[in-house]
C-alpha cells in the first residue's frame, strides 16, 4: 500500500522528472505521483499542509524556508544547477546572446516566470537588470504563473520571445520548435536547485519517500539531469 510517493515538483523539472519517474518506478515498483507548480506556490501549499512527501525545488531558498519552519526533515541538498535560455518559436526571430534584439519593435511581448514565486523568473529579471534592459522592457514583460505557463506563452506565440529553463527546450515536446540560445552563466546567480524530504513523507510514507529522495542523488539521476541541460557538479 505504501508503494506510492507524492512529489511536489518545480515546473522546470517536469520534463526531466518524466524520465526519472519511469526509471524509478521500474527499479522499485513504487508509484510516483507528480504535483507541478512554481517553487513558491508549492512551498506555500506545503506550509498550508499539503500532503506531499518530497519537494523538488528550483532553488535552495524555498526548501530552506521549509526546513527552518519544520516542514522538512533535513536541510536541503542541491541535485543540479539550472540553466536559463532565451527562446522564441517565431520564424522571424532568432534569439542572440546579445540581448539588444529584445528592444526591437517586433518583439512586443517577452514572457518570464513570475519572480515572486519562480526562481527562473528571478534569474530572468536579474539578467535583464544586468544588461540594463529591465526598465526599458518592463512594458513588454508578461508573467507566467510558473515556468510552464511561461513556456505556453512562448510556444503559442502569444509572447514573441521569453526566458525559460533549458530543460524545457530540450524536452521531447518542444525539441526542434523555434530557436533558443543559452544565457551566459555568469550573467545571473547560479540556479542551485535543491530538494528536501518533507515531514509528511517521513511520517506517513517513510520508506518510499526516502527511497525516492535518495534516488534523486543517484548516478542514474545525474545522467538524466545532464541530458536535460542541467549542470551537475
Amino acid at each position: 500500500q505504501d508503494a506510492k510517493v507524492t512529489v511536489a515538483v518545480a515546473a522546470n523539472m517536469q520534463y526531466a522528472l518524466k524520465t526519472l519517474k519511469t526509471q524509478f518506478e521500474k527499479e522499485t515498483g513504487i508509484q510516483v505521483e507528480v504535483i507541478l507548480g512554481s517553487s513558491g506556490k508549492l512551498t506555500q501549499q506545503i506550509q498550508e499542509g499539503a500532503p506531499f512527501d518530497v519537494f523538488i525545488s528550483a532553488d535552495t531558498k524555498y526548501p530552506l524556508t521549509l526546513f527552518q519552519n519544520k516542514f522538512a526533515t533535513d536541510s536541503p541538498k542541491v541535485y543540479a544547477n539550472g540553466v536559463l535560455v532565451l527562446w522564441s518559436t517565431k520564424s522571424d526571430l532568432k534569439p542572440e546572446v546579445n540581448m539588444q534584439l529584445l528592444l526591437m519593435d517586433k518583439v512586443k511581448k517577452i514572457a518570464i516566470a513570475n519572480p515572486k514565486t519562480a526562481p527562473y523568473g528571478v534569474a530572468a529579471v536579474e539578467i535583464l537588470k544586468r544588461y540594463k534592459l529591465y526598465d526599458k522592457l518592463q512594458k513588454k514583460l508578461v508573467y507566467g504563473e510558473s515556468i510552464t505557463q511561461t513556456n505556453q506563452f512562448i510556444m503559442s506565440q502569444s509572447a514573441d520571445i521569453g526566458f525559460t529553463a533549458k530543460s524545457a527546450v530540450l524536452s521531447d515536446e518542444m525539441l526542434g520548435k523555434g530557436t533558443w540560445v543559452e544565457i551566459a552563466h555568469n550573467g545571473y546567480s547560479p540556479i542551485e536547485q535543491a530538494a528536501v524530504l518533507l515531514k509528511h513523507g517521513a511520517l506517513n510514507n517513510k520508506e518510499s519517500s526516502e527511497k525516492f529522495y535518495n534516488f534523486l542523488y543517484s548516478k542514474e539521476a545525474k545522467k538524466i539531469y545532464e541530458r536535460f541541460g542541467y549542470i551537475v557538479k
Binding site: T6, I35, L36, Q47, E48, G49, A50, N151, Q152, S156
Partner: protein, 223 residues
C-alpha cells in the same frame, strides 16, 4: 488520457448538489416567506458567491481551513481532519460557491406558489413540515429541477477556489477544470481540448435539457 479528473469532478458535483439540495430547500423556504429585516442581509450573503472573485472566496477558505489558523487547528487537533487539499474541503468550498445557484431558483419557485395553497394546508391542520413535503415541493418540481441542474453544472465549472485550496492532487482534488488548466500549461493542447470538449458538451446538453423540460412543464401547467 487520464479520466480520473472527470470522475472526480462528477463525484464532487454529485455530492455538492446532494448537500445543497438539503440546505437549499429550508433556506429558500425561509427566504421566500419571512419578511424580517434580517432577511435582506441573508439574501445578500447567499448571493455573495455570485459576485465575489473565486480568489477571495478561496483566500478566506484557505485562512479558515489552514491548520495554522484557529478553526483549521481545532479540526486538526480534535478530529484529525484537514480540509485544505482534501476532497471534503472541496465539497465545503463548492457548497459555498454554488449556494446561490441552488437557493435562487427554489426561492422563486416557492414565491410563485399561491399563498392560499399554504394556508389551505394550515387550515386543514397540517404542520409546516407536512405542508412543505406534501404540498409545496410537489408543486415546484420545475424549479427544483432548475436548481439541481444549475448547481450541478456550476460545480463542474468551479475553478478558482479549487485552485487555491485544492492543490491539484490527483485523485483527490485534481478536478477537470484544474486538469484543463494544467494541460494547457504543459501545452498538451490535445488533451486539454478533449477535457474542455467533454465539459462543454455536457454542460450544453444539461442546460438545453433543462430549458426544454421547463418549457414542457410550463406548457403542461398552462393546459
Amino acid at each position: 488520457m487520464d479520466l480520473e479528473p472527470l470522475w472526480l469532478t462528477l463525484q464532487l458535483a454529485v455530492v455538492t448538489t446532494a448537500i445543497l439540495f438539503f440546505i437549499g430547500i429550508p433556506l429558500a423556504n425561509w427566504l421566500a416567506y419571512k419578511k424580517t429585516k434580517v432577511k435582506a442581509i441573508v439574501e445578500v450573503l447567499v448571493s455573495m458567491p455570485l459576485v465575489l472573485p473565486p480568489s477571495v472566496i478561496g483566500f478566506y477558505l484557505l485562512l479558515a481551513f489552514s491548520p495554522s489558523q484557529s478553526f483549521g487547528k481545532f479540526l486538526e487537533t480534535h478530529f484529525d481532519i484537514r480540509l485544505v487539499f482534501s476532497f471534503p474541503g472541496l465539497v465545503i468550498a463548492s457548497v459555498i460557491y454554488s449556494l446561490p445557484f441552488m437557493v435562487h431558483p427554489i426561492q422563486s419557485g416557492f414565491a410563485a406558489v399561491p399563498e392560499s395553497l399554504r394556508e389551505a394546508a394550515y387550515s386543514l391542520g397540517k404542520t409546516k413540515w407536512q405542508t412543505l413535503i406534501r404540498v409545496l415541493l410537489p408543486n415546484i418540481k420545475s424549479s427544483l429541477l432548475s436548481a439541481i441542474v444549475l448547481t450541478f453544472a456550476h460545480t463542474i465549472g468551479e475553478f478558482g477556489v479549487v485552485l487555491m485550496i485544492g492543490g491539484n492532487i490527483p485523485g483527490e482534488t485534481k478536478v477537470a477544470s484544474i486538469a484543463i488548466f494544467d494541460e494547457v500549461e504543459s501545452m498538451n493542447y490535445a488533451s486539454a481540448g478533449t477535457y474542455a470538449f467533454i465539459l462543454f458538451a455536457t454542460s450544453f446538453i444539461i442546460l438545453l435539457s433543462v430549458y426544454l423540460i421547463n418549457h414542457r412543464l410550463d406548457r403542461i401547467k398552462s393546459i
